[in-house]
Assembly symmetry: C2
Homo-oligomer: 82 residues x 2
């Protein structure tokens, strides 16, 4: 399954609880698109959040994030990992 | 040790070998700044590379990447992980 890194901007001040709530909302419906969200990292100072996932397509990742109310600003397929 | 995600742009067409060579160059000198690069992900189509590391500071991450010839465009401390 391809791997993706998506990026959210504008999340300045995000808390650990808010990150967990957003991630849990994704996990709750990810199976409907065969997406598996693996890890999310947040920088509360600059408001950037990175999410690593496995998914059948970029669009599948986008749809899950849109349905849970936090659309990604960028979704990158990352076939190269080291 | 704080965790960081840095981002490089403009790497369109990057190959697996080039990513490994860049990563290995970082690993070879990271100890001089107490940085530990963990994983790097690349999207050859959009030319974006993400690097996850542990380091004493953002500046330490930047110095290693600068010395190995691929300065990061962004370095985000990511204290929140889920």
């Amino acid at each position: 399954m391809p791997e993706f890194m998506d990026v959210h901007h504008g999340m300045v001040g995000i808390t650990a609880d808010a990150l967990k709530a957003a991630h849990d909302a994704d996990l709750a419906i990810q199976g409907e698109e065969e997406v598996t969200f693996k890890t999310a990292w947040a920088d509360p100072e600059t408001g950037v959040v990175f999410c690593l996932s496995e998914a059948p397509s970029k669009e599948a990742v986008m749809r899950i994030h849109e349905r849970t109310g936090h659309p990604a600003d960028e979704v990158h397929e990352v076939p190269l990992v080291v």
